[in-house]
Symmetry: C2
Subunit: 658 residues, 2 copies
C-alpha cells in the first residue's frame, strides 16, 4: 500500500450511521437496543472480568488517529485499521492510538489498565527501528480539558489506565535516524487489557499483614537457631527440625507460590499470551531516501524564560544547578528543529535574549554555537539590564571572539520586544551604533506590529507599519513582523517585502503570539491540530526567511517544580507554553512536550518537504502543490482534516525519490 493512501492513520473515517428504529418497537422503550456493540458477554459472564482470560477486543475499542487529531475524552470509536506512515531520514512521524473501554475489568476507580507493547519495526533486509530508541510512546493528558501534554510511558512498564466512558490516547512517535537505510519497515503494537498494578499487587505481592507474619516467623525461627550452649545433640536435632517446619510454612505463603515456577523476569508478557488475547495494530513505515537537513532550512528561534526556570526549580542565577537546567532545556528543545534563546524581560519590553549561558570564550559556547542543529543564535546584549562599563566591555569581548568564528553568520541580537514609540526606536539605534562599531556586520532582530508613535505617520496605519524599515535602517537587519497585522490579507506580504533591501542583508521574519486568533493558524490550546501545524505552512507560503516565538515555558509563577501549571492572565490558553515541567506528571525531570510542539516540528518538517519539491520543480509548483492537495490555500483556508497532509507528503515522496 502506498504511503499517503487514504486509509493511513490520517484517513479516519467515521462509522456509518443509519436511522434509529421506530420508538417503542424495539421492545423496551425509546430506541432501545439500537447501539448493540456485539457485547454478548458469552465469554465474560456476570462476575468480575479476568482480563488474562478474555480477548482484549471484547474489553476495549482500539483505533488509530492522525497526529493532527485532538482526541477528546468523548471521541467516538472507529474501526481498527492498519497504520501506514511515510518518513524521511532524520524525521519524526507520529500518530495516535485511541483506547476506550467497552466494559470495566478493574476492581476500583478505573475501568481497567492496558499494556501497550510495540515490536521493533523491521525491514525485509533486516534493518530495524528499535523500540525505546526510535519508537516512543507517550500518554496524551488533557490541559484545561484539551488533550495536550505528552507524558512519557515507562518502557519497562508500558501501561496506562482507562476510565469508564472516556477515550484515552497514546502518542506514538517514530524517529528515523539519519543513517537508517530506506525501505519498508513493519511491526505491530500489541494492546492488552491487564489486571491493574494495584489489583495484581494485592494478589501477587505481599500485603502488610503478610509481611508482619513473615517478620514474626523469621524472628521465631532465628530464636530457634540462634547459637547458644546446647544441652545435647538431641536438642540440636530438635531445633533443626523445628526450624525446618517453620521454614516450610513460610515457603507455603501464597504470595511466594509463583516464585517456584517463574524465572523471576516475568513482567513482560510472553508472545503466546499476546497472540491469544491482545488487540494487534499493524504498523508499516516507509523510510525513503531523502534526509532532512540537520540544520533546519528555516531558522525558528523560540524563547525560554530564564526567570520561570529560576523560580520553579528554585535555582539561583549563575549556580551550577542553574547552568545545568538551562543546558537541559537547550538540548531538549533542539530536537524540535528549534533554535532556542533564553530570555528575561526588563522595563518597557526591553529584553535580554541569549542562546548560550556561557561566555564566548568558554568551551560550551563553541559547542552550542557550532551545533549544526542550531540555525540561529542570539548573542546577549548584557548592558540591556545593567548598563555598566563592565557589561559593555564584556559585550565587546564577546563580539570580538564570535565574529571570527564560522558560526558568526548565525548570530543575531534581539534587543527589544515590539518597540512602540520614537524613544524606544532611538534606544535601538543607539545600541546598534555601539554594536556596529564592534563589528559592522552584526544582525539585529526587531519584532513589531505597528509603526512608532511620535513620528509623522499615525502609528496604527498599515503605512506606518510597512515603513518601519525606513526608520530602523541600518539598525535592524531582521524585520520580524506579527502575522496578526496581515490578517487574512496574504496580498499585503508584497508590500512588506517591497520595503526591504536584501542587498543590505535585510530579511523578513514573522511571529505569532496572542494574535492572530481563530480561524487563523496559531498555537493556542483548543485550536485544531491542522491549525497548529499550518503556522509553518503559512510561513513557507508567505516566503518569510525566519520565524520567532516569544516563549515556550511561560507559565505563571511558581516556586515548586511540581506546582500546578497555570497559564498567565490575559493570554489565550497555551500562548507562550509549548512544554510542561515533567515533575507535574511524574517523578521525571524531563520536560513534557505538548501536542502543539510536536505539530510545530511536523510543520518544520513539512517545510523541508516543500523546499525539496520546489528545488526540483520551482517555487510556483510548490505553491501549486499546496493548493491542489487542499492542504493550505490561505490563513483562513487550510485543511481541517489530516488527509491532505499525507497526500502532500506522498506526492513529494512519489515525485522526488531517486
Amino acid at each position: 500500500m502506498e504511503p499517503g493512501d487514504s486509509n493511513s492513520a490520517a484517513g479516519g473515517k467515521t462509522q456509518s450511521a443509519s436511522a434509529p428504529p421506530v420508538e417503542g418497537v424495539a421492545g423496551g422503550g425509546t430506541s432501545y437496543g439500537w447501539v448493540d456493540g456485539g457485547l454478548r458477554g458469552t465469554s465474560l459472564g456476570a462476575g468480575v472480568i479476568d482480563p488474562t482470560k478474555v480477548h482484549s477486543e471484547d474489553l476495549l475499542h482500539v483505533w488509530s488517529m492522525p497526529s493532527t487529531a485532538n482526541v477528546s475524552q468523548q471521541e467516538a470509536p472507529r474501526p481498527l485499521e492498519k497504520v501506514n506512515l511515510l518518513a524521511a531520514r532524520n524525521e519524526r512521524e507520529s500518530f495516535q492510538i485511541a483506547l476506550r473501554p467497552k466494559v470495566s475489568w478493574a476492581t476500583s476507580d478505573i475501568a481497567g489498565s492496558v499494556q501497550i507493547q510495540c515490536t521493533d519495526l523491521c525491514s525485509s533486509s533486516g534493518d530495524r527501528l528499535v523500540v525505546g530508541q526510535s519508537i516512543t510512546l507517550r500518554r496524551v493528558v488533557p490541559i484545561l480539558g484539551v488533550p495536550d501534554a505528552l507524558v512519557p510511558i515507562d518502557p519497562l512498564s508500558p501501561q496506562i489506565s482507562l476510565h469508564p466512558g472516556e477515550t484515552a490516547a497514546v502518542w506514538v512517535s517514530l524517529n528515523v535516524p539519519c543513517g537508517q537505510p530506506p525501505g519498508l519497515y513493519e511491526g505491530e503494537i500489541f494492546i492488552t487489557a491487564v489486571k491493574t498494578e494495584l489489583d495484581s499487587s494485592r494478589t501477587e505481592s505481599l500485603p502488610k499483614s503478610e509481611r508482619y507474619r513473615l517478620y514474626r516467623e523469621l524472628r521465631s525461627c532465628l530464636d530457634i537457631t540462634e547459637p547458644r550452649d546446647y544441652s545435647s545433640p538431641e536438642e540440636m536435632v530438635q531445633r533443626l527440625t523445628s526450624a525446618s517446619t517453620t521454614l516450610r510454612r513460610m515457603l507455603d505463603n501464597p504470595a511466594l507460590q509463583d516464585c517456584q515456577e517463574s524465572n523471576g523476569f516475568g513482567d513482560m508478557m510472553d508472545e503466546d499470551v499476546m497472540n491469544n488475547v491482545s488487540v494487534r495494530l499493524k504498523l508499516s513505515l516507509t523510510v525513503w531516501d531523502f534526509t532532512l537537513p540537520v540544520t533546519p532550512s528555516l531558522p525558528a528561534v523560540f524563547g525560554i524564560s530564564e526567570t520561570v526556570i529560576e523560580d520553579r526549580f528554585c535555582l539561583e542565577h549563575g549556580t551550577e544547578g542553574w547552568y545545568d537546567a538551562l543546558d537541559h532545556h537547550f538540548r531538549w528543545l533542539l530536537q524540535y528543529r528549534i533554535s532556542p534563546f533564553f530570555c528575561r524581560w526588563g522595563d518597557s519590553m526591553r529584553i535580554l535574549a541569549y542562546t548560550c549561558p556561557w561566555p564566548a570564550d568558554h568551551p560550551k559556547a563553541n559547542e552550542y554555537y557550532s551545533d549544526p542543529r542550531l540555525a540561529a543564535y542570539a548573542v546577549p546584549y548584557a548592558p540591556i539590564l545593567s548598563c555598566t562599563d563592565a557589561a559593555k566591555n564584556s559585550l565587546r569581548r564577546e563580539v570580538e571572539i564570535l565574529k571570527s568564528k564560522p558560526h558568526w553568520s548565525k548570530a543575531y541580537f534581539y534587543l527589544w520586544d515590539e518597540p512602540l514609540n520614537v524613544d524606544q526606536y532611538d534606544m535601538i539605534c543607539n545600541i546598534s551604533n555601539e554594536l556596529r562599531s564592534y563589528s559592522p556586520d552584526v544582525r539585529i532582530l526587531t519584532t513589531y506590529y505597528c509603526g512608532p508613535s511620535g513620528s509623522e505617520l499615525a502609528p496604527s496605519t498599515f503605512e506606518a507599519f510597512v515603513k518601519v524599515p525606513n526608520v530602523l535602517r541600518p539598525h535592524t537587519q531582521i524585520f520580524c513582523t506579527s502575522e496578526w497585522v496581515l490578517g487574512t490579507r496574504e496580498d499585503l506580504v508584497k508590500d512588506i517585502v517591497a520595503e526591504l533591501r536584501p542587498d543590505l542583508g535585510e530579511e523578513w521574519w514573522t511571529y505569532v503570539c496572542m494574535g492572530p486568533s481563530d480561524p487563523q493558524p496559531n498555537w493556542h490550546l483548543g485550536m485544531r491540530g491542522t491549525q497548529h501545524r499550518a503556522v509553518m505552512w503559512r510561513v513557507w507560503k508567505e516566503g518569510g526567511t525566519g520565524f520567532l516565538y516569544w516563549g515556550t515555558n511561560c507559565y505563571e509563577k511558581a516556586m515548586i517544580p511540581s506546582a500546578e501549571i497555570c497559564f498567565r492572565r490575559g493570554l489565550p490558553p497555551g500562548d507562550g507554553v509549548l512544554f510542561y515541567p515533567g515533575e507535574v506528571f511524574s517523578s521525571s525531570h524531563e520536560p513534557v512536550a505538548s501536542t502543539r510542539l510536536e505539530r510545530i516540528l511536523s510543520g518544520m518538517q513539512d517545510i523541508e518537504y516543500l523546499k525539496l519539491y520546489s528545488s526540483r520543480y520551482g517555487r510556483e509548483e510548490g505553491l501549486a502543490l499546496l493548493e491542489k492537495t487542499g492542504m493550505y490555500l490561505g490563513p483562513d483556508r487550510y485543511t481541517l482534516d489530516h488527509g491532505p497532509v499525507d497526500v502532500m507528503r506522498g506526492e513529494v515522496y512519489r515525485t522526488c525519490r531517486s
Copy 2:
C-alpha cells in the same frame, strides 16, 4: 451561627479579583507573577515531595460547594470555610468537598492521593451521627464530561486520586435517622495528602524481585536445617549458625524494617498526624424537631426497565437471580422517596408496569405494598403483553386479593404511555371496563401530551389536550400530563384542573421526559443543579398531586454488567437514566446514584418543608415564601445559585420549630 446563613456550604463566594499588572513590568514578560499562590516551596524543596512531612494545605486546595453545584474539572478554588447545614429527622442533606492539587506529590500518572476521614458528628448532649452509617462519602465522576455519577468511597480506605490541573469533588451526605434527637451536631473532616497506594506498596511492600530473593533464601535456609543424618554435633552447630546468619540477613530486608516498630494495624492515620498535616473542614449540622413523613406527601412513581436489568445482568425472566435483582433495585430506589415500578414496553407504547414482581398472594407482595415508604404502587395488567385467559384470570385474582387490603388506596394501573389516537383510547376504555368489573374503585393512570387524533378536535391544539378527561372519563382517574405542554405558561394549569372532577377521585399528575428543555426544569445531564431540583418545586407550585418519570435505568442495551454506559439515541443525555450499574465503576453491585437523583430527593424533601409551612400559614404564604426567597417564581425564573434554597429552608426552620 444560624443555618441558612450566607456562608454555609451554599454561599460559595468567588475569590476577589483585581486587575492584572501592566504587561512586562512584573519582570518576566506578560503579566508574569500575577497569580502568586504563595507556594514558596520553602518546606517543599525541589525533589519528590513526601506528603507525610508537609502540611496538606501546601499541597492542595480544599473548599466546599453546595449540592446543587456541578463541580467541573476546571472549577477554580475558593477559600475554605466552615460548612453549616440544617436537616430535619428522616432527611438527607448533602454538600461537596472540592479538591485541586497545588503541586504533584505522586511519582506517576496522578498528582497525588488524598485521604478523607470524617469524625462522627456529636452534639453537646452526647448524641452522635456515625460515619459510615449516617455519614457517607462518594466520589463525583464525570459522565460525558459532566459531574454526575456518585461512586461510593470505601470507608476502610477512604482515598481518592487527584490529577494535575483537575478539580475533583467528593459528595458528602448526612442521613439523619427518624429517632435522632434534635440539636447542634459538630464534627470535622480531615483531608490529608498521602502517598499513593502504589508508591507505598513499592516502598513498603515486597516487590517481585524481593520476593524471589526471599524465596531463594528461605529455600537455602531449609536446605541447611532439613533433617538428615548428621556426622557430628559440630556439623549441627555449624548448620544452626549458618541458618541464623541467613535468617538475620532476611530480617535485614528493607521491606521488613517497619515491622519492627509498628503494631501492624497502621492503615488509619493516628490523630497526631491528622492534627499536624491535615486540612480540617469544620462541619456543623442543626437537626431540628421536624420529622419528614416516612410516606412522601407527593407520590412520585419512577420506572425501572426490567428489560435492561435482564440484558445487562444476563438474567432470565423469572429466575431466582432475576427476582433478587429486581428486589435489590426496588429497595435501593425506595431510599430516594420514590415509588418504583418495573416496566416493559410492548407495541405502540403499550406498557406493562408493576411495582412488585411477586403475585399478590406471595408474602413479598404484602411486604412491598404495605411498606410505608411506598406512596403508590402499580398493579400489573398482565394481559397487556399476552391476552390469554390465564393472564385474565390471574389478573382478576390479583385485584380480588389487593382490593381487600388497606394499601389498596395506593394502587394504580398504568396501561399505556402517551396514547395518540382513538384506537388507543378505545383500548384503554376496554381495559378499564374489564378492571372496573373486578373492582369499581380501580385507579387508572394515563400519560399524555396532546388530544387523540381521529376525534373532532385537532389533536395538537391545547383545547384537544385539555379536553382529554372528557374522553377518558371514567376510564382514567390519574390524568398525568407532560410539563412540556405548559411551557412557561403556568396560568394554563387552571384550565387543566378546571376539567377534572375531584368528586370522582380524579387527580392531576405531571411528568417530564425529553421535554421541557432548557431553561425549564428537567433532569438532563448538563443542566444546572437548581434546574434539576426545581422539577419538584414546579410540581409543588403548580399543585399537581403526583408525579411520574418514565425510566431510571434506561441506558442503551448491553449484555455485560460492567459494559460502558451509553445513552440511547435520540434522547437528551441523562434522560431516563438516574443511576448507573455499580459494576462499571468498581467491583460493587450496588447501583451508583447520579447527582440528579440526589437532587430529586432534595426536591422531594423541599416539598415536605413547603407543605409543613403551608399547613401552618396557608398555601398562599407558602407560595409567597417561594417568591420572596427567590427560590422559584416560574418555569423560567428560579434561582441559579444555591443561596435561596438554604434561605427557604432556614425560614421554615425558624418559623415552624416548636
